[in-house]
Amino acid sequence: MIASPAAWRQVEARIARHADYGHDHRWLDLEVPAQFPPPAPGQFVQLLLPEPSPVLLPRPMSVAGVSSRRASRTLGFLYAPVGVGTRALSALGRGARVSALGPLGRGFPLARPGTPVLIAGGRGVAPLLFAADALAHEGRRCEFLFGARTRGQLVGLAEARARLSRARGRLHLATDDGSRGFRGHVVDLLERLAPRFDPPLVLHACGPHAMLHAVSVWAARHGAEAHVAMESVMGCGTGICRGCPLPRSARARAAFSSGTASLYGNREYAMCCTEGPVFEAGELDWERIE
């Protein structure tokens, strides 16, 4: 699952579909030439708006699905228009062009032996839908935990359900207010369901920082493996600018080998864009991440 750093390309992508996805989210299908290497679940793409653009830097987006045809590939993205860049993106219509740089970073290590337990919080569902697809493609099924504050924030629940049923994933829902599924936090749901899953469990999580932190604590306590998709403000997305450090845990600092390619970071910090965005939870110093 470690992408060769030199595998990324930059292409002009065409918006093939751009639709509402419920609860202020948008689904974006980008058509890219086939020379754009196939992304793996958990990898991301840097999207640059067309000129004249109200923002300077490209915006990182996780790939939420891929379909390939002969001469082109379609990448799906699920995003929330939260700021200037994503709002400007959301105004672009079918046929508009954006620049896509990728695929970037390391995705979820789905090949790890054990039962894949995918844990999504809110819009963190995006790369995990893609992960469920990929697992199904390998003939493996997954447990899929999806949590949010309230029912409405289970973003694109219908679509998730449809895709998971195709992927033969089992969907478990949690809402803080109990408006749908289990009442409580998705990690509480994990605590309750875990004994029923086939050990060893391999957790793959994406969602708000607090949720990922809780997953990491849970995994450490239960000796489970946890892989978490992190975010950071980014510049280049390719390891060049050194702009996206995440502090390593004491354990990771001790284990750090001076032979690690410099693109991936140093003893103190890992780069989110190259060594991540998916990290083994124990490698990060959660106290120093916000």
Binding site: A6, Q10, S99, V233, I240, G243
Partner: protein, 339 residues
């Protein structure tokens, strides 16, 4: 490729002859090989590598980047692998690129720079050294420390004997007179000036009531600073006889031509490479096409060619003969008194 045969784009930087005036800016193109599958570094005038320091540096705490209107603040803090690893691991890879390599080096004291040059000064794969006298993001040995003409002059005089490669002094824009600093560098023995590094800036996260960066301040780069960098580049070029390499907000062939028109001998592409990996090559190709379309045969015809009727920018022949420092100071005085 054919297009470029029609025009002489070569640039002399001290002992160095660049095939064309487009370089990558330090810290924005790694060690030259990261994007080599998309940008052949050998097509560029040169690759300036990430600043290397005596000891490895882990860099500043997150966040290290904050976007602002038309620009980005960075607070990388000179994260780099350090001299030893650079020499053992990066230098051989740089050699393999068959490109013109300019190694950026940084130090907290003149002595540190000496030690780096003692180690690297004779590396055959390094065609030049850019000395980063201008990092806004380090606690010691940063832009403020080096913003003293005498310190610059003396330091360069100590470094000069340590290498036959080109010595380029990269200056900060955050000074009262970049012309004075450029003159000091020239007198200390620099072969060229790079003008400019990033501008010190700040951004506040009001929700958390603290800096949007891990440190209080960062360095601003990108289109927002282009007009400022252009003015400082023009001032430096008017002050010295050695070539000045422009840096700051360059993202198109037109931008490159603006810098060269006000007197730059070459230019660097920085932040633009984060937006488009091929930015440096695109700048080169667009610049070349524009020059050819205007019937320019030699890059030198364009350099400093900005019309003089808008005082005080002077028309100037190129390549310029070295002038005595006193005469040059006269020029600076003219330019600055006209501000």
């Amino acid at each position: 490729m054919r297009a470029r045969a029609a025009i002489d784009l070569t640039v002399r930087i001290g002992p160095l002859r660049l095939a064309n005036p487009v370089l990558t800016a330090s810290g924005t193109f790694g060690y030259g090989d990261e994007a080599a599958h998309l940008v052949d570094p050998a097509r560029l005038g040169g690759v300036v590598t990430k600043t290397v320091t005596l000891k490895p540096r882990a860099g500043n705490p997150p966040q290290r980047i904050a976007e602002t209107a038309g620009g980005m603040l960075n607070s990388i803090g000179l994260e780099n692998v350090g001299l030893e690893r650079f020499r053992l691991e990066k230098v051989p890879r740089l050699a393999a690129l068959r490109a013109t390599i300019v190694a950026s080096i940084g130090g907290e004291t003149p002595r540190e720079l000496e030690r780096i040059l003692e180690a690297l000064g004779a590396e055959p794969s390094i065609a030049g050294f850019e000395i980063n006298f201008s990092c806004p993001n380090v606690a010691r040995g940063g832009a403020r420390y080096w913003a003293m003409p005498r310190r610059l002059e003396r330091t360069l005089a100590r470094l000069r004997p340590l290498t036959r490669a080109a010595l380029i002094a990269k200056l900060s824009p955050d000074v009262t007179s970049i012309g004075d600093l450029a003159i000091a560098c020239e007198q200390g023995g620099a072969d060229a000036i790079t003008a400019v590094n990033t501008f010190v800036g700040m951004a506040v996260d009001l929700a958390r009531m603290r800096s949007r960066l891990g440190r209080a301040t960062g360095g601003l780069s990108g289109p927002a600073i282009k007009p400022l960098a252009l003015a400082r580049c023009a001032e430096a070029a008017a002050a010295v006889g050695i070539p000045v390499i422009g840096s700051g907000g360059i993202s198109s062939g037109r931008d490159a031509l603006e810098f060269i028109a006000v007197g730059a001998a070459a230019i660097q592409v920085g932040t633009a490479s984060f937006l488009r990996s091929r930015a440096a090559l695109d700048v080169l190709d667009e610049m070349t096409a524009l020059l050819i379309a205007r019937g320019v045969k030699r890059l030198g015809e364009w350099r400093g060619a900005l019309r003089a009727d808008a005082p005080p920018v002077r028309r100037r022949a190129s390549p310029r003969p070295a002038r005595p420092a006193a005469a040059r100071r006269g020029v600076v005085a003219r330019v600055s008194s006209a501000r």
